[in-house]
Amino acid sequence: MRRLHPRSAAVDAAQGGLQLGSLGLFGGFFLANEASVLPFSVALLLAPLGFLLGAGYQVGYYYRFSYELSEEELLVTSGVVGRQRREIPLERVQNVDVSRPALKRALGLAVVRFETAGGSSTEATLDAVDPDEADRLQRQAGPEARRRREGSAGDTTDEASDATGDGATAPSGSGGSAVGDAPAANGVGDANPGARVDDTEVVYEISNHELRVLSAVSFRPGAFAIPFVGIPLGGEDLVVRALQFVGIDLRAGLRELARLDPTTLALGAVALVAAYLLAVWLVSVVLTYLQYYGFRLERTGDELRYERGLVGRYSGTIPLGKVQTVRLGENVLMRQLGYAALAVETAGYAAGSGGDGGSETTVPLGVRGDVFELARDVLAASDDTGRYEASEELRGPDASDRFADSDASDGFADADADELTAAETTPVADPAFQQPAERARSRYVRRYLIGLGLVCVGLFGASRLTGLPTAAAGLPALVAPLTPLAARLKWRHRGYHETEWSLVTREGFWRRRTRIVPVFRLQTVLVSRTIFQRRWTLASVTADTASSAGGGAVVYDVGPEQAEKLRVSLLDRLDNALSERRRAARKRARRAAAGGERVGPSRAPAASDEEPGGHAETARGDEHREPQHDGSDAATSGEGRANDETEFQWVDGVDPDGTPTNGHHDDEG
């Protein structure tokens, strides 16, 4: 069993001690002076007592925390008072993240986080270990463990027996061979990053130029708040002076403001907004630069690993077999410059705990053609049945863009040429993507107008309460002529595209996101119609996956019949894709069984446990805070396998949802 880094224990102890100590200090003063419950001399003791308690707890935590990474699982034992022992099978691990924020980095520490699909928070956090150790963990839990599993399947040491999870015997057999083919597994020469894994290739590395472009064009919503954060730190003065400069004395108050002549007021407002936006942009530039400095994406076997950061260093792994959705992002500036970003969504992250709200940026900015190429590679690698064909699904987003021809280097530039001219002459037509129904555009116009109207009403109310001129309430109405354009842009950038293998959806003008959802990853399909949509006889289809980025891919505002058709066809194709995967898994299992190794009785397709997506029990972990015990896992899957040999009730090709279901609700629209 290993311990965390002692230095981290010392830091935590100091921190915990100071926290409780200061609490004791202030609490003691309060009790002695204000409340006069305690004599002063006793109260004075509270501070050191608090310090000792806080520090002691942390020291205890350090001594009671241990972890062990074996070939099959990560075992973490922790807890000062209540003890907790958690076993995480490595094949269930979705991502392994190593973060070294500035302070930890200065102290030579790294925090390792193991994410699984289950649970509402990170499954295991090692805070903190030595950076080399973090590296070892990341490597050993990821590509090396996977290669070992594959290796044992490959040389017919029988995946199935492995997956039955009957403990010590089978794994030790395969383990022996594993040590053979992956000598680095036992962490001999950890210090040298180059030497450890032989087949690591750098897939992407941000260039200085790209980093500068990225910083300039990326737009961080969070940056909006930051100028306000600066205000208490003396920024206030600056704002007031700036306003005075353009003739507004903020100290004179709002009344005064109302008495100013309109031109000064308007100029002041414009200047203020401009200054604010500039500040937001600068903050955004700096943050982006710091975040993505030295971004680098490598591929080791079937795993991607990124590294980034100037002040703090962050890295994370993305097993390709666990990719739920691939998301391409292009904001309006990136589109103009011919760049795109790529994010990969897995089931691993608790919302907001890591990455970009549940997904990992795999390419922050790259030439669009290259990014699409990589997206295709990722998708192809994510399906182990090899059914993914480099179909035209990604051509759509390319073809509709003006600068598609700038990346002539990529393979499909020629094919685009015709479509491109078509797209230019009839800008609405997008050959691959199917836009929302025509009438949705009118709906958007109406929606924007109603929104503007509400803002007007709000301003009118405000002008009554404050001294603002009533005419200001009419200002938003000036934007009204732009609503058709906005509606058109919204409409045009929304759309979907169906292929045999996936569903591609797209939305957003300012930040366009194209999501590619492999059909075999679908969880549920939802057709929804709000009362407003029913008024226009429109419906939206949500294809939900287990991706922890949330949201699912949404096909907006299509006709109800089309929505229903899409729902049925998605379920159909899910069915087909799963049968195919099942067949492939069975074939693998049979081949393994033919290899002469014993297979668990009545559990022939047990190899499915080995599948990347093969969570039988753990994916919904809220109910089971420790769902990963071998035993419970085997129990559920075992239950399911009781009638193994009976053919699955639903056979390929049978229309699963044949009955049309419209009648039920249409009459109420």
């Binding site: 939802l526 995967r581 969570h615 919904r620 399911g640 699963p656 109420e668």
Partner: protein, 159 residues
Amino acid sequence: MQLQTLHPRVRLVWIASTLVSAGFLAGFGVAGDAFGIRLPVGPSPLALFGGLAALVGLMGVVFAVLRYRVWGYEVRDDSLYLVRGVLTRRVSSVPFVRVQHVDTRRGPVERAVGLASVVVYTAGSRGADITVPGLTPDRATELRERLRELAADSDYDAV
């Protein structure tokens, strides 16, 4: 299998749940009145909150009736099919392969009127838990067992 409707008494469960919030509102009004609080403008707190409570209660009844009319579910060959939603009509399909586990649940009000719910969990990110309310306990158990069997049959890729 036809689209199944819920048990009519489920309306009572829904109404009861809105009555609780309406009761809270009314409570505010009564309390405000008892302490003699007056708003600078407008009606007395009792009238204001009483009115709100009545409105919420009424809406609750109307919605319960409408929701009951809309709700339907069907166990199809390979998926659980649900229609629900008053303002936003939602039609969802939950393939059995994706079912993680199935619970039956009986809240206090449900027990009082002799009903139960079945909760179907998936690993999905949106609407991951799907509740089928308004089932008699027998029917709930039966549905749960059926779903469990179907899910187990197709146990392959849950995520």
